[in-house]
Structures are given as C-alpha cells and as structure tokens.
Symmetry: C2
Subunit: 466 residues, 2 copies
Amino acid sequence: VVSNRGPLSFSLDDEGNLTSSRGGGGLVSSLSPLVRGTGATWIAAAITDADRQAADEGLIEADGFRVRSLAVDPALFRMAYDVVSNSTLWFLNHGLFDLARRPRLGRRWWEAWEGYRKVNRRFAETVAEHAEEGATVLVQDYHLFLVGAWLAQQRPDLRAVHFTHTPFTGPEDLRVLPSSVAEELLVGMTGHVACGFHARRWAANFEECCREVLGFTPRSFVSPISPDRDEIVATAQSEDCGRELERLEVLLGGRQLIARVDRIELSKNLLRGFHAFDDLLATRPEWRDKVVFAAFLYPSREALPEYLGYRQEVESLARYVNDRWATPGWQPVVLDTSDNYCRSVAALTRYDVLLVNPVRDGLNLVAKEGALVNRRHGVVALSREAGVWDELGATALELNPFDVAGTSDVLAGALAMPPDEREAHASALRKLAEARAPSSWLDDQLRQADADADAVDGGGGVPVVG
Amino acid sequence: VVSNRGPLSFSLDDEGNLTSSRGGGGLVSSLSPLVRGTGATWIAAAITDADRQAADEGLIEADGFRVRSLAVDPALFRMAYDVVSNSTLWFLNHGLFDLARRPRLGRRWWEAWEGYRKVNRRFAETVAEHAEEGATVLVQDYHLFLVGAWLAQQRPDLRAVHFTHTPFTGPEDLRVLPSSVAEELLVGMTGHVACGFHARRWAANFEECCREVLGFTPRSFVSPISPDRDEIVATAQSEDCGRELERLEVLLGGRQLIARVDRIELSKNLLRGFHAFDDLLATRPEWRDKVVFAAFLYPSREALPEYLGYRQEVESLARYVNDRWATPGWQPVVLDTSDNYCRSVAALTRYDVLLVNPVRDGLNLVAKEGALVNRRHGVVALSREAGVWDELGATALELNPFDVAGTSDVLAGALAMPPDEREAHASALRKLAEARAPSSWLDDQLRQADADADAVDGGGGVPVVG
C-alpha cells in the first residue's frame, strides 16, 4: 500500500522517545482495518519531525503489517502537498476554481509542480527498492498520480493499481492545466495496471480525458468503499456515544433534528445548507421552534487561506440564521466544530433528516454511516453530485446542491414525511448501505492487479481508432 | 431578426420627442450592416422609457429594415436579464461560477427564471403575430434560448434558426442547473431548425448536452462571425484615429507596445494579464523601460456587484504593477477605461503584441480586428480558450490563460521575435482573419433555415440509440 499519509502518526514523548498512534484522515481509517494482519508493507510520507525520525529508523511493525515512512524534504513536501495536491488537483477535481481568479499558475506554482514530480518519484523509488518480485502495489489518491508510470519503467514486474478517492474532472475542465502537466498526470495514472474510482461518473471522466489527451482508453474500474457496519454500530452503542446522545437530546428538547457531519471544506456546500434552512424557516413558519439544524464540522486544511476564509463565512452565516430566528427557548442552528467523533456518531443515530449536499464529492461515507446507525427511521437528503448517489440514489431524496429553494423544499418534505413512508425509506437505505462488504473495495483492487497478470498478452489500455 | 437589444436605442429630446441612435453592443454592431437594406424586420426589447414609447408607436423604418420594439415589464425584464441571462447563463457558459458560493438558486432566482420564460414567450408571441407565412427567423443569443420551442408550436410554418454568441457549456457543468431548467433550455433551443455557434467546441458541447439530457443529437452548425475589413480599415485611417495614434506615440516614446482591448469582464482574464506583465518585468530586467502595456477597457454590466468588484481588483492590480516598476520617465501600465473607440482602433494599428487571453470566449472579434488593421507586423498572443482559436490558432502564439508564467514567457518571446518572423506571422494572421467574408455568417444562418425546408421528410434531430 502506498499513500501520502501513513496509518501511524508519530510523536516524541517527554524523554524524546518515539511513540506512535493511529493516523488521521478518512483514507487511513478506511484502509487500516482492511490491511491489518495481511503482512503488507505500507509506504507513506514522514510529515512531522517525529515521523522523520521514525523514517530514519526504517521499518516499523504494527497491527500485522509493516510501515515504511519515507522522509521527504519538508519544504518540497509542503509545495507538493499544499500547492499542487490540495490547491490545484483537489480544486480541479471538485470543480471549485473561481476561474476569473484561480488558479494562477505563476513561477511558484511551476516550482511546486516540480516538487510534486519529485515527491512522486521518491515514492516510486522507495516502492521499487523494497517491493518483492511480482508484488501487487496499491497506490492511493491524487497526491500520487505519477507513481505508476515511473514504476512501470523501473519495476515492470510489479502490478500497481491506482485508486482515486476524489471525483475526477472531465476534459473541458482539465484544460485549466497546462498541456504538459495534464498529459504527464494522465500518463502517470495510465502507467498503473488499472485506475479505480468510487463512482461511474469519475471513471467515465477519466476515460474521456485519456481519450482526448492521450488518444487511448485506459483500464478503469468502479469500486465504492463501504464503512464497517459492525464497527460503527459498536461505536454507536458505546457508553461515550450514549452520553453524547443524552446531551444532544437535552439540546433538542424533543424537536426534530436535521444533522450534517462534514469537514469544513468548500466542496461540502455548508453555506447553501444554512441558506436552505433559513429559507425553510422563512417560508414555512410552522417549522419554527420545531426543528434544530445541528452541523458537526471538523476544521480542515487551515494552512490554506481559502479554508480559513470559508470557515469564517460558515460561522458568520450560522450566527446570522440564529440572530434571525432564535427564540428564548430555541436555538435553530447548532454549529459544533470540536473534534468529537462520538458526538457525530450520536447525531447520526438521532437525526430525522441527514443533509448531505456536497457540490461534488468522490463518494461521501457519512451518508452510508448514517443509514447504518440511525435509530429514528431518519431520511437522507442527498446531493446527486456525490459519488455515493450511484448506490443510494434509488432511495435517498435527491438534491441539486446549487438549488437552495429546492433543498429547502426537500428538507420540508422530509420533516413532514409520514411515519410508514419514513420507515420504508430508512430500511431501504440501510439495505443499500449494507450491500457491499467493507472488504469488497480492497478485493476489487487486488482483482484488478490479477486481471492484468491473466491478460499479459493482451496488454493494458485499449487503443481507440481515430 | 430577433434579439434582446435592438439596432436603435431611443431617447427623448428636450421637447419630449423621440430620437433614435445606433444601439450599442457587439452583436448589434455586427448584425446591423448585414441586415441593412434587406427589408427584414428586427424585433428587440424596449429597455428604456424612450424605448417603450417607441414600442407603443409600433414599427419604425430604419436603414432599410424595420424595427419592432417589444415592451416588457421593466422589473420582469431586469430579473430575466440580470439574474438569469447575465448572472446565470453567461457565468455557466463561460465557466465563471465560484461553485462553493455561486450560483445560489433561491426563491428570487426561481422568480427570475419565470421572468426569463415570460420574456421569451413575449418574444415568441410577437414573432408569431408579425412574421409572414414561411418566414425565416434568426434568433440571437442566450437571452432567447426558449423562443424556438414556442414558435414551433404556434407557427410551425416559420423556419427559426438560433445563434449563440457565447461559449456553450458541456454536460458536466450543465448539472449546476436544476434538471427542469436544463431540460427546458435545451428543448427551447432544439425547437429551432438548427443552432449555431462560433466554434466547433461550443457546438460539440451543445450536442453532448442534448444527447445526455434529451437523448438525441440536435442539428447544430459552426459559423464564426467576421468583422468588416473595409469598415475597420477606414476607421483606422480616419482623422480621429490618426490623432489618437499621435497621442499614443507620445505616450510610448518609441517603446514597444503590448495592447489589449476588452470589456471589463470576468471572462476576459484581465488580472492574469497584469500578473503576466508583472512577471515579465520581474524575470527579464532587460525589458524594463522598453515596453508599455496599454489596456483599453470598457466598463460593463456595472449593475452586477461581481463586475464592480472585478473592476476594483483590476484597477488596483494595475496600480500595483506601476508602483512596483515605474521610473520617472516610464509608466509600465496604461489603463484607459474611457469610451473611446478611435483610441482602441489606434492601439490596434500600433501594437507590437496584442494580448487576447480570455478564460473562455465565444469568439473574440478583437483578435481578428487587430490582425486586419495592425501596421507594425504585430504578434497576436491568443488564448486557446477563445472560439477564434479555431480560425487563428494555426498562426497565433498559444496561451493557456491560467498559466501566468507561460503567458509571460510568450509575451517575452513575442517582444523579441526577429523582424522577418514577425512579418510572416502578421501577414499569415491577416490572411486567416480575411478568410471569411462578413456576410458568410448571415448566409450560413439563412442556409440552415433553407436546408430544413429541403429535408422536411428527414425531420430535424437525429435520434440516438441507447
């Protein structure tokens, strides 16, 4: 397994000794339980000083797999990570550029692009150095698009599969990147045996980009990840979550709950969510004092000014809605930005309506997690722009995330849904969320790597004529 | 001819009598000379009070064609024009939305959308009422996407062709609109016999949108408009332009000139143009005091806050570049926002490099006009995102409009181009700009209308299977 962040995050204790704890991030928490006990090697960047010290000490055994941290020059890493991965590739693939102003590809950007190339090459070299003959290599996400092409040259015996956890842009928006950069990214990706995505749309976009820019159709596959049902249900039943739920009930005072659980992230569409709730209270007075909108939001990427500014907008809009509608006994919006996983899970067990309205989202695990642990026959209002729409769209209530009036109408409809309809909705949704085993996602990647071994004569991509 | 703005703009003199003058806007100035003397009827909205008074008085003869102004309720018109046409359809088709924040389709937007539908219906009714049996109707631009479908019901004898002067978005970005709205727009457009665009890319996007949303391929055609060579050359040779050129020469003091002529418009990419010039001066000191960047910019759509804000950013960035680099004898950036057509034409005769770097542009006439009147063997640096790239791309220097470092490099290369290469460039460019007669664009629309009459048995759109 190769990913930007590793499964362990290291720190130094008071005596200067290395200690390790579980790493953060959605990818890591999804992957770790699947890799546990497999004896795999996990290669990831050393980010902090402690990480780098651990990297110097080489391999670390953990949870039945081995971790190899890769020391990268910190300045180089920041450029690759902040400027290219998070400010360019993330924005591109989520359609978040304000094109009249951003991106502005100046000299510093081109330096960062060189940094991204170097970091990718360092990863590829580390894999090439340590992978056993014929090993399967699972390369994760947009930080590491270029690993496959370099590996294919240096270690043609390896079978590398890439998986992208974000959306993937279409050929029209790809034109934002300089031609040489777009081409190198796609060549890098198609250097892998196959490229996987969480939804059909992202795979189709990737294929179209390759056809237009490279002139051939790459091998792609679709494999949405699933949360571990047993684990999240156990969390929901824990004492900690029980206490959080009690606190939440006091806050709600018997009112209905519209909940959302998200990072503070431009793609999550937090502003229009509050606007829609504001519209609901304005246009349907019967819901005033009858419903609370609780948003559990985790601060994210605060090294980037776009995210700091966005957080301020979000907080000020939440205050605006409260200033406008609150009564002595009722606070319409509860905005919680503390890092409290149990509180979020408690909210998922308790919502009457779960709002998942991203502008664009690779998958969105929260929608599935909610469907699995909710105990109120809650309704899920889901953006058609989330990858998980592929799986839950048959049952979830459809949102166009840009349509604030439409979102308000859907929320009102969900709040007023009759109990039997609600029950049918929630149980259909739970079935859809349970349909795929958590291991299917890892199995699909392994199968893609094997499929190539079977088809060695046939070659990888299918050339397109014309 | 049916268009939002008419060929005449009316005002009231001191005694309250109606007087008329030529209307503004690129579409009107391109179309008017072509329609002159044809005896056609031109239907357009009455915008000002004087316009509405003229509308009340019915038909007006002018320049060998008739003008029928169409009174529309001013509030309704503003909603349709400002909110739907200019803040939604313009932004959508130019890819200008900052999607984390805009568009925000609230109740007011939906009202405006009803306004857009009503205004389109009013246009269709006026055409239906006045068009002769079997007449050809040329419907212009994104303000009037829906006219064709209503006309097809009310007056199936008419042959209506639509022409879009902006880019057209692809299916991925079209998803920003609510499904019902996207569908109604495409149904409205495909109600015309055929839909025309300035460039292949926009026609291809339109076809893809129709295939994805409506399930069939519409009839589309590509017909870039051309400026009238003789007219603009005559203007360039006029005394007024001569005086402006003299003033410009004094300002330049023998230095090279990078020029641009644009509306103050987010799609024109004014900010990155100044950033690229700033980078040029920073990275190539040999050009300091040797070149002036003159930007002739016309204020536009100042009723929309986005445009006011953008103008301030543009002006402050121009000041920043001057503050950074100016010397007692040299002002690096000259920013002129006065409405002086002759001064712009004089600049087009005098540029050494013409910068045309839009983020996205339906066509861009300035690039062709420059090639036609320039007297210095000037070089055109052209965004590959402009529709005119189809025609001039073989010779113009290619810009990726988002790549500030790349734009600076292209500008530097253009300034340093040897005289013989420069001459070959300019004369090849002139030939390309002269390749199409100004009448070809009108002829293509008329031919499309006729082609349908020939192919009545075959029907319009080609259904797609699957």
